[in-house]
Amino acid sequence: MRSIQRRLSLGLISVLLIIGLVLAQTSLWLFEVGLQRYLESGLRNESELLLVALVRGPDGLQLDEHRLSPGYQRPYSGHYFRIDFDQGHWRSRSLWDLELPHPGQPGLHADLALEKTDQSLLLLHTDYRKFGQTISITVAQDYTPVRDSFALVQRIGLGLGLMALILILVLQRVTVRRALRPLERAREQIFQLQQGQRSQLDERVPVELEPLVAQINHLLAHTEDSLKRSRNALGNLGHALKTPLAVLMSLAEGDKLAGHPHVRETLRDQLHHIQQRLERELNRARLSGDALPGARFDCAAEIPGLFSTLRMIHGEHLELSSEIGAGLFLPWDREDILELLGNVMDNACKWADSHVSLTIAKGADGYCLLIDDDGPGIPVHHRDEVIGRGNRLDEQVTGHGLGLGIVKDIVEAWGGRIQLLDSPMGGLQVRIDLPERLSPQLPGTESTRQLS
């Protein structure tokens, strides 16, 4: 989609150009027509004066020189006449040796060029009857100065029009930008939403945007709510299934089955399968994945709680250290991140001798989580078995199995990558790379800035 600003500009420019040109050209044309009418009456006057100056002399028709205006005497003065009658014709002296163009029709004619000069003539051709014969008088006037001034007016008008256009465009840009500012703000807020820097859009927006923002906020709240509800339902389901399972497991270990070792063995196996399957599927179903855009995980607030939990489970002898950028937020759901870190760290604590360290760093295009321990590590050729694709739970190595299975699910749901490496501390290093959370429909801030 192109930006609204650009569309508005293009539309405005074309409308203004078309209307402005049509208007300017029409008014110029009307003005010229009016001017020609005015000049025509002058010319008609001239031609009538000439008619009056025609007198009957001793040898036919004569032109009374005294009655002629001096403009007809000076060569190329811009005022010309030609009188045609039965016996011959007269031309004004101003024509010198040039021939006045001869229009066939009587009436006003414009745009006739006088040969050899660059004068453009306005010419009136009229037929009269006097002294019993037809006399046709053609008077002409140089139209070039008028035309030149028209061109000047046209140029000035064009310049003024262009300036007005630019001014209007600038003003329109400013206005539109001001009018669209709430839209831009909403766009920025959606971006922040994706980044996990906010959980709701600002409700103080113009009336036009209100339904949109309200709808988005409603959707967010609804998603969060249904996630919470489905998690709760899953918790209840887990509770309903796991408690009887605990009873069965306790029964299987009890004395009542001491006489039936086979039954006990089968029961144990099957219960173990059910438990593993249940655990994995419930955990997977709890993942929010990308459902909630406003989610975020505050490292500084949550990591200490996780660490004290781990210390409680594994004993105080373990040294847990963390290296996390100040004020770092991970743009994912809190419970998902806790599940991810909890399982990986729990695993590391199980195998570590004395020290487990957690490093979270933000890279150029994502986040990198490193979990190091100083335990025995995993030989290179076993690592693929531990996190290998398509491994079934029951085939996975005990201890490194279930926990890392759910970790793999989480990381894959986020489009990340998990690797098992050698730790500089001597044991295993779990490296988890998570890509920056950006929806593809939302381009970066810079590129959209240019359009607006």
């Binding site: 918790g235 509770h239 408690t243 306790s250 009890g254 419930l282 996780l306 599940e339 870190l341």
Partner: protein, 222 residues
């Protein structure tokens, strides 16, 4: 050792009571959160096993009430909610350990043993050690050097309590409160009988009598 079990699922509670009973724990059982708030705070329990999904008042709230009331008894949470977020919440509310359902009965026993020792400041080790005696809680027998000495269930209970509180003076009524659940008759003469049995098996010096005060575990005096 006297335990409070708060669990609303009757079959599971039955199972737990019988397995933990075999381990020599005296168990009081409650199913409702409201009762638990009161009884947990008034009776002298050594440890509380608390289910989170309780009728009445949710388990987490029960725990918060206890802790805000100053109760310091170790609490082991037993729950089907296995997510880390919920675990952290539980421990923040003041739990000392967290066991998710379903679990092996053996794991629950180990956790209870470990928690009881941890609370007493004892190192986490497979056998309980005090004053030259090693108590094997799994086999319910005690060893001194190379010599294994078999114990009856009642003697085992008593010795374990002594060994978890070495050097402390414990009155007969205190011992009766912590060794028997709320429903059994507490007869201090029974304690006397068991102390005498222990002395016969482990030597007279193992438990001192402080006249008018009670007993004190002295061990073999190394």
């Amino acid at each position: 050792m006297r335990l409070l079990l708060v669990e609303d699922h009757v079959p599971l509670a039955d199972e737990l009571i019988s397995t933990l009973g075999r381990q020599g724990y005296a168990i009081d059982w409650l199913t409702d959160g409201r009762d638990a708030i009161h009884q947990g705070a008034t009776e002298p329990y050594d440890l509380i096993v608390l289910d989170l999904g309780l009728p009445g008042v949710p388990g987490l709230e029960v725990l918060q009430k206890w802790r805000s009331g100053g109760l310091s008894t170790p609490v082991l949470i037993l729950t089907a909610r296995a997510s880390w977020a919920e675990r952290i919440e539980g421990l923040k509310a003041g739990a000392d350990d967290y066991l998710t359902k379903p679990f092996h009965p053996e794991e629950l026993q180990l956790r209870i043993q470990a928690l009881l020792r941890r609370v007493r400041g004892l190192v986490n080790q497979p056998k309980l050690e005090a004053a030259g005696l090693h108590l094997d809680e799994g086999r319910q027998c005690v060893s001194r050097g190379e010599e294994d000495i078999q114990l009856t269930a009642a003697e085992f209970r008593l010795l374990r309590y002594f060994m978890l509180h070495p050097g402390q003076i414990l009155s007969k009524s205190h011992l009766a409160e912590h060794l028997y659940d709320g429903e059994n008759e507490r007869d201090s003469n029974v304690i006397e009988v068991h102390v005498n049995h222990l002395r016969r098996k482990l030597g007279r010096a193992v438990v001192e009598t402080r006249r008018g005060q009670g007993y004190r575990f002295a061990g073999t005096g190394e």
